[in-house]
């Protein structure tokens, strides 16, 4: 699934390791989500939404545009 995780992370100048620590997952998991090889669970997606202060559907989905 397409997502804006990499863009949102870059906007905050966080490394994958920093984001992983904040989310309580491994860096490999953050990388797999960013490269769209793994779709997170609803629980993790909600955690990501809370961390970035945005609804899940804004971060994940087919219709978003990078840089919005």
């Amino acid at each position: 699934m397409k997502n804006r995780l990499k863009v949102l992370r870059a906007e905050r100048d966080w490394s994958q390791a920093v984001l992983a620590e904040k989310l309580g997952v491994s860096r490999q998991t953050v990388n797999a989500i960013e490269t769209e090889r793994y779709d997170p669970s609803l629980e993790l997606a909600l955690r990501i939404g809370r961390l970035f202060g945005q609804p899940v559907e804004v971060i994940f989905g087919e219709n978003h545009k990078d840089g919005e």
């Binding site: 309580g24 491994s26 998991t29 793994y38």
Partner: protein, 130 residues
């Protein structure tokens, strides 16, 4: 839940117990295959690897509990590969024995039919996700 975000801090512990277990297993196998072991000692020697296996099992379960959701999925997919493949191989072994082949082969030493598909499953899942 205490998720391990540093990817592989549990791996050395699991590997350590795994090596100890396999070492104890091979040691027991060698001792049991050798001649001259008193009958009274054969069962204790056969059971000697059990504590190492228990240590490995506990370390593995703790490692799984500390994994995040992606690494748990990798383990699940590895088992989903290993289980049916092991069943098929075991059935083929059994049929080959009934057909008159592999007469001297013992299933007791064929634990690898689960272990090899498991590691193959881990490799496939890691290649897919990581």
């Amino acid at each position: 839940m205490n998720i391990d975000t540093k990817e592989s801090t549990a791996t050395p512990v699991v590997l350590g117990w795994g090596v100890a277990w396999v070492g104890a297993y091979l040691g027991a196998l060698i001792v049991l295959k050798g001649t001259g072991l008193p009958e009274l000692l054969r069962l204790p020697v056969a059971l000697a690897p059990a504590p190492f296996f228990l240590g490995f099992l506990i370390a593995m379960l703790r490692a799984v509990q500390r994994m995040d959701e992606l690494h748990r999925r990798i383990q699940l997919e590895a088992l989903a590969v290993a289980f049916p493949v092991a069943i098929v191989i075991a059935m083929l072994f059994g049929l080959a024995q009934r057909a008159g082949y592999l007469l001297n082969e013992s299933f007791a030493d064929n634990w690898f039919i689960v272990v090899i598909p498991y590691f193959a499953g881990v490799a496939l899942a890691r290649r897919r996700y990581l």
